[in-house]
């Protein structure tokens, strides 16, 4: 049959033209390559989607990755060298209950106004409204470049570190109308509540009332919408869209050395998105938990990528819910710890991390020697991978196995566990899958359930989980084990609440231990020895009771692109990397503003 | 066969049928219908499509309740409140439909189509016995050899064969009346006579009465040469009478027009044109005033527009609803009454 093809008439011409035009339109799109790759530094991060984004750093819409490039603290703490890098502050002096800080005179706000002690005071009063500084007495500003903090009693290093390390975000000329009433509120509060730790009923009522008043002030301060971008650091916000946030060099900043003119932050949250950016050479720095083969592929496809493995100052593991039998049984928890080969789990979840030590202390391993005395160490239990002994311990405690090999409680109930994980935290999910597989293999059928964050926190608080994946210690920003002990042992502590720990537990010397009081001593005491003794008590307890089973101490992989847009990345062992204890963005911000990272133009 | 002593099988008295439409208007499908069907009767109902003849069939079958008037079956008003229809009487009236695609379940084999009636209502019980009887039935309606047909599906049969199945099903419980609604309209004309013969045989051998509904006067004449004719127009009976008498002496102009369309009939016109003023049938929703036929009637006078004619007797057994028709005047070609 020989039909003339239908492509010969008006209808078909229309179709033909339509299709060819469509293809033609697609062609340049295929050819179009990212054209403008000039100055600037790019990293990934998150912020609020405009127009909910605003320039008030205190309330939610102003929060985001960009803050590290826009604001700075008085000092940056370097855990590696245990030193402070002066930023807005020049020097500080601790004398008893007082802390005196000298400020950098050449520091300026975004608009060129000089940076003064009023700004520091204003910022910390807002922090106080937010709940910081429970035992603070007053903040004084004898002159524009000096600020004095005074507490009811001598405070520990943790409090000092908070003052020195928090970002100064409340310019007095913008936030003064709320920080001034806050100051008078602080005054009344310290007169009424005084130095007491235990409140009378009247004081308790006053305290709750105070909280509401503080909240009112805070809400008013949150409502401020600054007319222009503010900040003291080298960059200021210039453009915000839902997919990118652009920062430009701030003209009045005291960071004269900063040479990179522009910082672009791309929205990126999950690992796979960041890998995609890296592969495309779209960003200069990214951190993502990455297995070695993916890292290799990325480096193969883009040879300019440098890879650094940095401590993340947090460990990952599982909190046990004491309310759920048999997890309430110490023997069972200890057996679980010995059933899991944490080294193998670590490789699956986060290859470059460090396997958690066998003592299961809520401390960084590098920090352990500082907090654990030899005599404490001698009394600690060890949780090596030793399944045989674990099985034996279970049998001794009355646990049995049925014909299918499933473990039964001494009461004869079948044991089956569930691990709750936040969806989207991929290394948590992967490690948990591996844990579940391992436990199931050992005769304890275990399933992983992923919940989104909203539901996860609710379940955790209500104690509805068996095992919940979480960060055990989280040193971020303060570099002190008090933080993690507080999370674990104090009343209302996040992990302790999830575990359902009792208020008192039997301590090292066979005496009941008041957990709250011990935590407060670790966190607040200026007496280093007292703090250490209290810490030892709690560390011992963590080791014995095992409310939290740590799998690995997290390290993040930072991929940096050398020579694409910027150059000058420090060596891997440079202590400056340990600024990442605050946040990895702080490292980038410091390297840029101090002029260590420079544009990679023709040199 | 008419026996004056026993009540008629079906008796319609002054039956009106109206349907309410969604928009509130009323469609009148039947008006002042009177009809008695006795055992063994052969009655042909004729009319254009939409004239209400199928509706009449449904009323006779007892499927449709009249809006006014009474329907008596075996002397009982079946739509009286609280009346429960005895099964034997219900089964005494069966139907043959026009469209075998709709009347035969397409996914059932002939055996499956024919056996449920036997299974539920006859003495024949047991799978084998029923199947045997289905064979007999198929043979009886001429689907031989029955082995070739019994497990076939309707779509595997021709139109005529399908109607044979329909006849087999209608006769299977030996009813006393079968309403056959255009049973040969969908059948090839070459096969029509055979189907009609089959039904006639039924009447002859078992005395089954037939209400034969059609638009085709020729088949009506063939089917019931001795029977009664009912001519319907727009829901009204316009002429009834012995079929040959009616054809020889059509009294109503409508019947005259119908006859005019048949070549060789008494009133056939040589030019083939229908002696009508208009070819369009008025809507039954809003029927014309007076005599509903007047807009198309070539003889209409003023009275026809104002006054509706009643069915009146012209001669014994021959009635007509026309103001102008008289018994004496025999219609001649092209001549008015």
């Amino acid at each position: 049959m020989n039909r003339p093809g239908p492509f010969q008439n008006r209808f078909d011409r229309l179709l033909k033209w339509g299709l060819s035009l469509g293809l033609l339109a697609l062609l340049p799109a295929c050819l179009a390559s990212p054209t403008n790759q000039v100055s600037g530094f790019r990293c990934s991060g998150s912020w609020f989607i405009p127009p909910s984004f605003h320039g008030n750093p205190w309330s939610q819409g102003g929060d985001g990755t960009h803050l590290a490039f826009v604001y700075e603290p008085l000092f940056l703490y370097l855990p590696d060298s245990q030193t402070y890098l002066p930023q807005l502050g020049l020097s500080y002096k601790i004398s008893g209950k007082r802390l005196d800080i000298k400020l950098r005179p050449e520091a300026r706000w975004h608009d060129g106004r000089p940076f003064t002690s009023q700004d520091v005071k204003s910022s910390f009063l807002i922090y106080w409204l937010q709940g910081w500084g429970g035992r603070l007495k007053k903040i004084e500003t004898p002159d524009p470049h000096t600020v004095q903090f005074e507490w009811h009693e001598a405070v520990g290093p943790l409090e000092i570190r908070q003052v020195l390390g928090r970002r100064i975000q409340a310019a007095a000329h913008l936030f003064g109308q709320w920080s001034k009433p806050a100051e008078s509120l602080l005054h009344t509060a310290q007169q009424t509540l005084g130095a007491d730790r235990r409140y009378s009923q009247a004081q308790q009522r006053f305290y709750e009332n105070l909280q509401l008043k503080k909240n009112d002030l805070l809400q008013a301060a949150y409502a401020l919408r600054p007319p222009e971008p503010i900040g003291t650091n080298a960059y200021r916000v210039s453009k915000v869209t839902s997919s990118e946030l652009v920062l430009k060099r701030s003209p009045h900043s005291w960071h004269k050395a900063a040479r990179v003119q522009e910082v672009r932050i791309l929205r990126g949250s999950t690992n796979d998105v960041m890998w995609a950016y890296l592969l495309g050479g779209d960003i200069d720095a990214s951190h993502a938990t990455t297995p070695p083969d993916v890292a290799q592929q990325i480096q193969r496809l883009n040879p300019r990528v440098k890879l650094f493995h940095l401590p993340d100052f947090a460990n990952f593991g599982y909190v046990f819910n004491f309310r759920k039998p048999p997890l309430g049984d110490r023997v069972f928890r200890q057996a679980l710890a010995r059933l899991l080969d944490r080294d193998r789990l670590r490789m699956v979840g986060s290859y470059y991390s460090l396997t958690s030590d066998s003592q299961q202390l809520p401390l960084m391993q590098s920090d352990a020697s500082h907090w654990v005395s030899p005599e404490l160490k001698a009394g600690l239990l060890s949780y090596h991978y030793q399944p045989k002994q674990a099985f034996q311990a279970l049998s001794t405690a009355g646990y049995t196995r049925n014909s299918q090999g499933q473990w039964l409680t001494p009461q004869g109930q079948k044991i089956a566990l569930e691990i709750a994980v936040i969806a989207g935290y991929s290394d948590w999910v992967l490690a948990s899958e591996a844990v579940a597989a391992e436990l199931s293999h050992m005769g304890i059928p275990t399933q992983v359930r992923t919940y989104d964050a909203a539901l996860y926190h609710q379940l955790l608080r209500q104690g509805q989980i068996d095992l919940a994946a979480a960060f055990g210690f989280d040193y971020r920003q303060l570099m002190h084990p008090g933080v993690s002990l507080d999370r674990l042992f104090s009343q209302g502590g996040y992990l302790g609440m999830a575990a359902g720990l009792p208020v008192r537990l039997t301590g090292r010397k066979g005496r009941p231990l008041a957990l709250q009081e011990r935590v407060e001593t670790v966190v607040g005491s200026a007496d280093a020895n007292a703090a250490r003794a209290a810490a030892e008590d709690l560390l011992w307890l963590a080791n014995q009771q095992l409310p939290f089973l740590a799998i690995y101490e997290k390290r993040i992989s930072v991929f940096a692109l050398e020579g694409e847009r910027v150059r000058g990345w420090p060596q891997g062992d440079d202590p400056i990397w340990s600024l990442s204890s605050t946040s990895i963005d702080t490292v980038y911000a410091y390297l840029l503003s101090s002029g260590r990272l420079v544009p990679s133009g023709p040199s | 066969m008419n026996t004056e002593t026993s009540p008629p099988l079906v008796k319609l008295t002054a039956v009106d049928i109206r349907f309410g439409l969604a928009d509130g208007r009323v469609l009148q499908a039947g008006h002042q219908l009177n009809l008695s069907i006795h055992a063994g009767d052969m009655i042909a109902v004729i009319g254009e499509s939409g004239c209400g003849k199928s509706t009449l069939g449904k009323v006779v079958l007892g499927l449709l309740a009249p809006s006014a008037g009474s329907v008596e079956i075996a002397g009982q008003n079946v739509w009286a409140r609280g009346y429960r229809w005895p099964k034997a009487q219900r089964l005494a009236i069966q139907a043959i439909h026009q469209d075998p695609f709709s009347s035969l379940n397409p996914v059932r084999t002939l055996a499956q189509i024919l056996s449920p009636g036997l299974k539920y209502h006859s003495q024949t019980q047991g799978r084998e016995a029923i199947r045997l009887q289905v064979h007999e039935l198929l043979n009886a309606v001429g689907l031989t050899p029955s082995e070739r047909f019994i497990d076939k599906y309707p779509f595997q049969l021709s139109g005529g064969q399908k109607q044979r199945v329909a006849i087999a099903r209608a006769t299977l419980l030996s009813p006393r009346l079968i309403v056959a609604d255009e049973p040969v309209a969908a059948v090839d004309s070459s096969l029509r006579l055979a189907i009609l013969d089959l039904m006639k045989g039924c009447n002859r051998e078992q005395g089954t009465a037939f209400l034969y509904i059609t638009h085709d006067l020729a088949t009506a004449r063939y089917f019931a040469p001795e029977g009664q004719l009912v001519v319907m127009y727009l829901g009204r009976m316009v002429e009834t009478g012995q079929i040959e008498a009616c054809i020889q002496r059509p009294a109503h102009p409508y019947l005259q027009a119908l006859l005019a369309a048949i070549p060789g009939s008494a009133t056939a016109r040589s030019d083939g044109e229908l002696p009508l003023r208009s070819l369009e049938m008025p809507s039954p929703i809003d029927p014309p005033s007076g005599c509903v036929f007047h807009p198309r009637c070539p003889y209409a006078v003023l009275r026809c527009e104002q006054e509706a004619p009643q069915l009146r007797s012209l001669s014994p057994g021959h009635s007509v609803a026309c103001h102008l028709a008289t018994a004496e005047v025999t219609m001649e070609k092209g001549q008015g009454p």
């Binding site: 690992n271 | 069966q94 209502h121």
Partner: protein, 292 residues
């Protein structure tokens, strides 16, 4: 019930093999479906699920030991695929079955009874059909915090029944106006005969096709929702395998991981194809007119 009898009868008449003999595609579909059924039932006995992870064996290329290579934690991909088939098949068939039952009930009631009830049911169905399906499914998945494939199937079924019920209703309405139903009335045949012997066999082909369509839709929706990571369902099924491969382990960046990434995709596509192909044969099987 009678539809079941009806099918048995057809099977007795060897109609099934007739259909398969000349409909090659349906035969292939059936073959694949049987393969998947074996995979879900017998498969787990043949392929031991090596649960323990060994990082050193991560993303191995296919070999004699591991026919489809290994996953991100060095476990056999094939074994996971085999064990994971069970959940998907359960979800697909439980949702299709529940949908069918619900729709049949509602559609038949609405079609047969008509009147007010019909109007109300249709209104409700209209509303259901207007709800954006995937978003509401995602919300429902969160709402029920689904723990097992059956309840997953149930949640999906909640969204599939209205469409099918409406279809069944209109089928019933069409059938109800057919003359053979009138004949049944004239023959004073009991209602159960009318419904189960006259009506149902007519809509069985429609039901069969829609059973398969719902099953196919359910697979797509469930895999999609798992890929989004909304459902806290455990990892041993194709959807979760894909979730892990595509978004959490970097498998899309590592060529060695392609067998692991592509295996569940291939299985889903094949399963979908098998269902589609078999549906054609099933329709023929139930509808004598198509066999003619």
């Amino acid at each position: 019930m009678s539809a079941f009898k009806h099918s048995l009868q057809l099977l007795r008449q060897n109609v099934f093999w007739e259909v398969l003999r000349h409909n090659r595609r349906a035969a292939l579909g059936l073959f694949l479906l049987l393969g998947f059924a074996c995979m879900a039932t017998v498969g787990p006995l043949l392929f031991q699920l090596e649960t323990r992870s060994d990082y050193l064996l991560r993303f191995q290329a296919p070999s004699w030991a591991h026919w489809l290579g290994t996953d991100y934690a060095g476990r056999d991909t094939l074994a996971q695929l085999v064990h994971g088939s069970r959940d998907i098949i359960t979800i697909a068939f439980s949702s299709a079955l529940i949908t069918l039952l619900l729709a049949l009930l509602v559609g038949t009631l609405a079609g047969l009874l008509g009147g007010r009830l019909d109007q109300w049911l249709m209104r409700i169905i209209d509303i259901f059909l207007t709800l954006p399906r995937f978003p509401i499914m995602a919300i429902m998945a969160g709402l029920f915090s689904i723990q097992d494939p059956f309840s997953f199937g149930f949640v999906l079924a909640l969204f599939y029944w209205p469409g099918l019920a409406r279809g069944i209703r209109s089928q019933i309405l069409t059938l109800r106006s057919k003359d053979f139903i009138e004949i049944c009335q004239l023959m004073a045949l009991p209602l159960r005969h009318v419904i189960f012997a006259e009506l149902m066999p007519n809509i069985v082909p429609y039901l069969a096709i829609n059973f398969i369509n719902v099953a196919r839709d359910a697979i797509v929706a469930s895999v999609g929702i798992m890929l989004l990571g909304i459902v806290p369902l455990s990892a041993s099924n194709w959807g979760m395998m894909l979730n892990l491969a595509a978004t959490q382990t970097g498998a899309i960046y590592v060529p060695e991981a392609y067998p692991y990434l592509l295996a569940p995709i291939a299985c889903i596509v094949l399963f979908q194809f098998a269902l589609m192909a078999f549906a054609g044969g099933l329709e023929e099987f139930f509808d004598p007119r198509l066999r003619g």
